[in-house]
């Protein structure tokens, strides 16, 4: 019969129309400004800079290595390195960004800056209501506007942030252990040098926790104590390597 197909189609739309009154599933739209769907955790929009601690300027993880600036496909990141250094999260003095601008009118939210960042310093935000009347200044974010706390990062991407924190804690622990080992090695080297300079008991001390000379006690005061017992072999090895130099080359782990 001619028109059967049309009637069949009309029945389908009628079913959907009537169904929308009874079934919640058939109501697929949301009245946006009043009603909002929760964003999925992975959702991304524009990058921000993560900082630890209360002060955004001191806590920025970014060390201005400029890898993201180089890798950014639309080249929307502008970084200026600082002249001085400040300690980073493991306590190593690092350069920090004196200027870090992102032009979010150019940014295409591709997340490549996040992927290439070796310091977990830049992450993606999911804030999307960013309209502004100022077309140029309003969309050019400087480093203060970009800085968001680690707690905020935990809020927008909980699982990812937890993984990142675990990784950073591991790195920090490793760095601390290394620093302690280095410090112990230096202390040992200093002790050895002092012992040698003090004209020699017939046998040089090997591998132990050091001779109780006054010269050796002095550097040990500043170093954390438990380093030597936890890793007894490493300090000895490191000490034998750094023995010829005598003096510690660089500042230890504080």
């Amino acid at each position: 019969m001619l028109g059967e197909g049309i009637l069949k189609g009309l029945a389908e739309t009628a079913k959907n129309f009537a169904g929308s009154f009874v079934s919640k599933e058939r109501l697929t739209t949301v009245e946006y400004p009043e009603e909002r769907l929760p964003l999925p955790e992975a959702s991304r929009n524009f990058p921000f800079l993560v900082y630890d601690g209360p002060d955004w300027e001191k806590g920025l993880r970014c060390v201005a290595c400029q890898i993201c600036e180089k890798e950014c496909p639309p080249k929307c990141i502008y970084i200026e390195k600082s002249k001085d250094k400040k300690p980073d999260f493991v306590g190593k003095p690092q350069i920090y960004p004196a200027k870090f601008d992102i032009d979010i009118s150019v940014c295409m939210s591709c997340q490549i800056c996040v992927e290439v960042c070796p310091f977990e310093a830049i992450k993606m935000d999911n804030e999307f209501e960013l309209s502004t009347v100022d077309r140029f200044g309003g969309l050019l974010l400087d480093r203060q506007q970009l800085a968001k706390s680690n707690e905020y990062y935990h809020k927008v991407h909980p699982t990812e942030a937890t993984q990142v924190d675990a990784r950073l804690a591991e790195e920090k622990a490793k760095a601390e252990a290394k620093a302690k080992a280095d410090a112990a090695a230096k202390a040992k080297a200093a002790a050895d040098a002092a012992a040698k300079a003090a004209a020699a008991p017939p046998k040089a001390p090997e591998g132990g926790t050091g001779t109780p000379t006054s010269a050796a006690a002095k550097p040990r005061d500043t170093e954390p104590q438990p380093a030597a017992p936890t890793k007894p072999s490493d300090p000895a090895k490191a000490a034998s390597q750094s023995e010829p130099k005598g003096e510690p080359r660089k500042e230890g782990g504080d």
């Binding site: 197909g5 069949k8 389908e12 697929t28 999925p40 955790e41 890798e71 992927e115």
Partner: protein, 390 residues
């Protein structure tokens, strides 16, 4: 009809509509459809010369959305070009990512882990379903059914885009695949959500077909309209549902077996007449086949790494050489051709877009048709201007 007098020696003449003179009384009416015609899926112009209602000449004019994609690709690193491939065919960013990743993987001889291959197949087939659904929706809308079928298609597409967003972070500009795997490992919760969406898809296709396939108006408007002969289709390099609608059995998933497509059982639907209705029907049947592939793939997603351990993100410099990676994108054969000279960015980068090449036969399909059908035939090609103009 006299021969068209087009050339006047002017340097800008190439962009001017050709001048026709009608036979007998009256003259040809030249209509410039577009660039802002609502049926053109973007900015595209058709200079149509009409004799009454009949099309005597059609000249497509494009390039309004030209973004210098290939040159950008040559001045970017290999990774840096990945997000730009999302913007070619913005309906199917996942398949674009895959084709580009495939080309680069061929260039450097990079292996892809099993799990990543499965995830890629799942994402590509989801893309195909949502692309075909919305392509049909647009086609029917251009026929005059304003809204209803398109909204049905978009309702389903929304579910798939939500899956993409919860996996890759973005609904359309996914930027998900990498050389040697994928960026994020999908959680079991994501796979369960995908299974749920896929379980609902057959019902959607049934509903869609009940709504449309036997509709007499649709048949009257589409059957016998815009016929593309198989020999012309093959000679013009047409691929995808258009070629299969003309009855040529050519599907790169069956011909080339890229990825792991040799492990799945699916059929290649073919048309008989090569008209708009056949293209519509081929798309509907392809959706059903895609759902079949999805069900098979979701059953056996293996555990394991999502990225190959040898894959490099930073400092990616392929050895000198060339590679061509192609896949069966929803719109046809999508290929990326790369020449490397050993530097971090490609020496030559070329896209073979299905949309542009499928558009080349538009005039042949439209000649002799009514002007109202031009919109319909154009819609049945299923193009995205981002890919045509690049």
């Amino acid at each position: 009809m006299k021969t068209p007098a087009t050339t006047s020696g002017h340097a800008l003449d190439w962009n001017r509509p050709p001048v026709f003179e009608a036979e007998g009384e009256g003259e040809l009416l030249e209509v410039s459809m577009g660039p802002h015609h609502p049926s053109t899926h973007g900015v595209f112009r058709m200079d149509v010369a009409l004799d009454g209602e009949r099309v005597v000449r059609l000249k497509p004019v494009f390039g309004y959305l030209h973004r210098n994609h290939e040159q950008l690709g040559q001045s970017q690193s290999y990774l840096g070009n990945m997000p730009y491939t999302d913007r070619l065919d913005y309906f199917c960013s996942m398949t674009n990512n895959w084709a580009y990743a495939l080309a680069v993987e061929k260039l450097v001889g990079q292996a892809v882990p099993e799990r990543a291959e499965y995830i890629r197949v799942i994402l590509a087939e989801l893309t195909r379903v949502q692309n075909h659904a919305s392509a049909i929706g647009f086609l029917i809308q251009e026929m005059g059914a304003s809204g209803t079928p398109l909204m049905y298609a978009f309702r389903e597409r929304e579910k798939i885009l939500d899956l993409f967003e919860s996996l890759s972070g973005s609904r359309m500009m996914c930027n998900y695949m990498r050389f040697g795997g994928c960026r994020v490992d999908p959680s079991p919760a994501w796979l369960d959500a995908t299974r749920k969406v896929v379980a609902g898809l057959p019902k959607f296709v049934d509903e869609f077909e009940a709504l449309l396939s036997s509709n007499e108006i649709l048949m009257a408007r589409t059957q016998g309209v815009g016929v593309l002969r198989p020999d012309l289709a093959v000679n013009a390099g047409i691929t995808g549902p258009m070629l299969r609608g003309s009855g040529v059995n050519y599907d790169i998933r069956k011909v080339d077996y890229y990825g792991i497509y040799d492990r799945f059982k699916f059929l290649v639907p073919l048309g008989d007449h090569g008209d708009v209705f056949d293209r519509y029907m081929v798309r509907v049947l392809e959706m059903r086949e895609s759902i079949g592939i999805l069900e098979q793939a979701l059953k056996e997603v293996p555990a394991g790494p999502i990225m190959d351990s040898k894959a490099k993100i930073r400092g990616f410099r392929p050895k000198p050489g060339e590679a061509y990676g192609r896949i069966e994108a929803p719109k046809g054969e999508l290929g990326f051709y790369l020449i490397s000279d050993g530097s971090p960015n490609p020496y030559r980068y070329r896209v073979r877009p299905p949309s542009l090449i499928n558009l080349t036969v538009l005039e042949d399909m439209c000649l002799g048709q009514n002007v109202a059908d031009v919109v319909l035939i154009f819609g049945s090609v299923d193009i995205v201007l981002g890919e045509v103009d690049r």
